[in-house]
């Protein structure tokens, strides 16, 4: 079984040309299998989230609507989601037999995604808490504790989550790898079609280097199929609905916040500008 399709170029070299298209189905099945396994895990194995005693003064200080995503962040997310779905459908539906003029749709959506991602990188680096989305020691320690408790070992309970749970952070990391690979290779591939950005230059790389670019783009693409399936699944799960709603309205319910999130690890700004949780040390 070949995962990469190869061909002999005019110079007699055996070069990769793209991924084998059956990987589309493999990625879709992998995404769906994850859902099934996760549903079974939640139904039969997952420990219940323990109720946490929240100090009344903290409850009193917490606004009913806890701000989570700014307008700019939400706008970015939905633009990225729309362009990502457009890219996936325009890339893979033709391979599954749905025929339409997909190339312009694909590169235009790719250009939108590229601009959105560049904006996001700059915005997150300079105007947001850059490190909040990266796993830290506490995340890893808590994950280890959860695993040991799942195995029945007696270990201290993990803490409640910071703004982004480890799963979110890992997902974000996977999206960074696949998304940036797809974008970087996609920008290069734009030089092979007629776009408004730059003149065609099919000789930019050698045949085998181009093949490598196409294979990487394909792998990132099918990887994103599985990742998007998983993302949509979590977005519509009942217990995650508060998080999904926050991506629409910008805030989450204070009850949900206090139950699942650690105010010390995710400090929110209150209207009078004092942050919740333990005051930062001087």
């Amino acid at each position: 079984m070949d995962f990469v399709q190869r061909a002999v170029d005019p110079w007699g070299q055996n070069v990769p040309i793209h991924i084998a298209w059956f990987l589309i189905q493999v990625a879709a099945i992998a995404g769906l299998l994850f859902l099934i396994v996760h549903v079974i895990y939640l139904r039969y194995f997952a420990p219940k989230v323990p109720d946490v005693a929240v100090p009344p003064e903290l409850v009193a200080r917490t606004p009913p609507h806890v701000p989570r995503h700014s307008v700019a962040s939400r706008l970015y997310h939905w633009i990225m989601a729309a362009s990502m779905l457009t890219l996936l459908f325009s890339a893979f539906l033709p391979k599954l037999g749905v025929e339409f003029d997909w190339v312009p749709i694909h590169w235009i959506a790719g250009a939108v995604l590229t601009v959105a991602v560049v904006y996001h990188i700059i915005f997150a680096t300079f105007w947001q808490d850059f490190w909040s989305i990266w796993p830290d020691r506490a995340d890893l320690l808590d994950a280890w504790r959860r695993f040991l408790r799942f195995l029945g070992r007696q270990v201290p309970p993990p803490r409640r989550f910071p703004k982004y749970p480890l799963e979110n952070k890992l997902y974000h990391g996977a999206i960074i790898i696949t998304g940036l690979t797809a974008i970087a290779t996609g920008v290069l591939m734009m030089s092979r079609v007629r776009t408004i950005f730059f003149p065609r230059n099919p000789y930019f790389f050698t045949d085998s280097a181009w093949g490598f670019v196409y294979v990487l783009h394909g792998l990132a693409g099918v990887g994103l199929i599985a990742l998007v399936i998983v993302h949509v699944y979590f977005a519509i799960r009942p217990e995650k609905r508060a998080i999904t709603k926050s991506m629409i309205f910008g805030w989450m319910d204070s009850t949900f916040y206090l139950k699942h999130y650690d105010p010390e690890r995710w400090r929110i700004e209150t209207p009078n500008s004092s942050s919740l949780g333990k005051p930062p040390e001087a």
Partner: protein, 342 residues
Amino acid sequence: MAVIRDVMPAFELFQPSSIADAHKLLKQYGADAWIMAGGLDSFDWLKDRIKKPKVLVDLSGIDELRGIRTTDNGIEIGAMTTLTEIVNNPILRQSYDLLPQAAELVASPQIRNQGTIGGNVSQDCRCWYYRGGWPCYRAGGNICYADTPEGRNREHAILHAQRCVAVNVSDTAPALIALDAKFVIRTSKGERVIDAEDYFIGPDIDITRLHILQPGDLLTTIRIPSTWARTQFYFEKVRDRNVWDFPLLNVASAMALSGDRIERIRIAVNGAAARPLRLKAVEDDVRGKPRSVATGERAGQLAVQGAIPLQFNAYKIPLMRNLVKRAIGGVQEATWTSYREP
């Protein structure tokens, strides 16, 4: 570059004697089956050992697919009818002469004796990079060798190119579009009748095919309605060698006049894109106008709007402009015809 070898790769040969049997075979073998009509396109592929089908379904034994029949609403041509039969058919000559004119300019007499109307409209493109077996877009790869700074693209597309710049080279296709023909296709879901212009697809829709036939589908009949019978026809083909060549460009038009004014018109060109192009904008523009050089001039300008030449085929833009101009405005010079027995 492919080297022509005389020995074809091994395949299982089926020679059905009915449409039903042929369709059953095509359904059974799907993408593994290769349909052969006259064999003129097929044998190139097979002898070059570029296409290696597991199964070859030879349609030459199916009598149902042959012949030209008049119907209540026009005429019906079996897909396996040879081009020579079309050229010599008196009814076609009398009422639908556009098609015989186009068929007569296909290749050589020997090829017309063997080549069929179904094969002519369904033939693959002649881009030598693709025919040479190189892994271009059309062959499932990731590059167009013709659309490169040094690519040999004199014969290639000036319109609607998208990644692949190969062109459709059928002579009969634009004539059938101008005559508003309908193609009858036997599919797994039953019979499907489509307009001639919808039979052809460009690389924007599927870069590996020139027509809509899916594995298992079979073009059985071409119907020409009487709508355009005995109207004024024009067909012109420009090629490098007048004795035997594919078109660089061709144009076909059917026109009904009211006095000197163009009442109705259908016009199509081929060789400019991966599918024969019906020039609707031109039709709309010239309808109601006098058939004159000025109208033709304007139509020619309109026809080439949006054309993008490649490195070596910019000549096709004025060529297409002039062909359309001549088709609309008329031409005084005699057009080329082959010798026929008196």
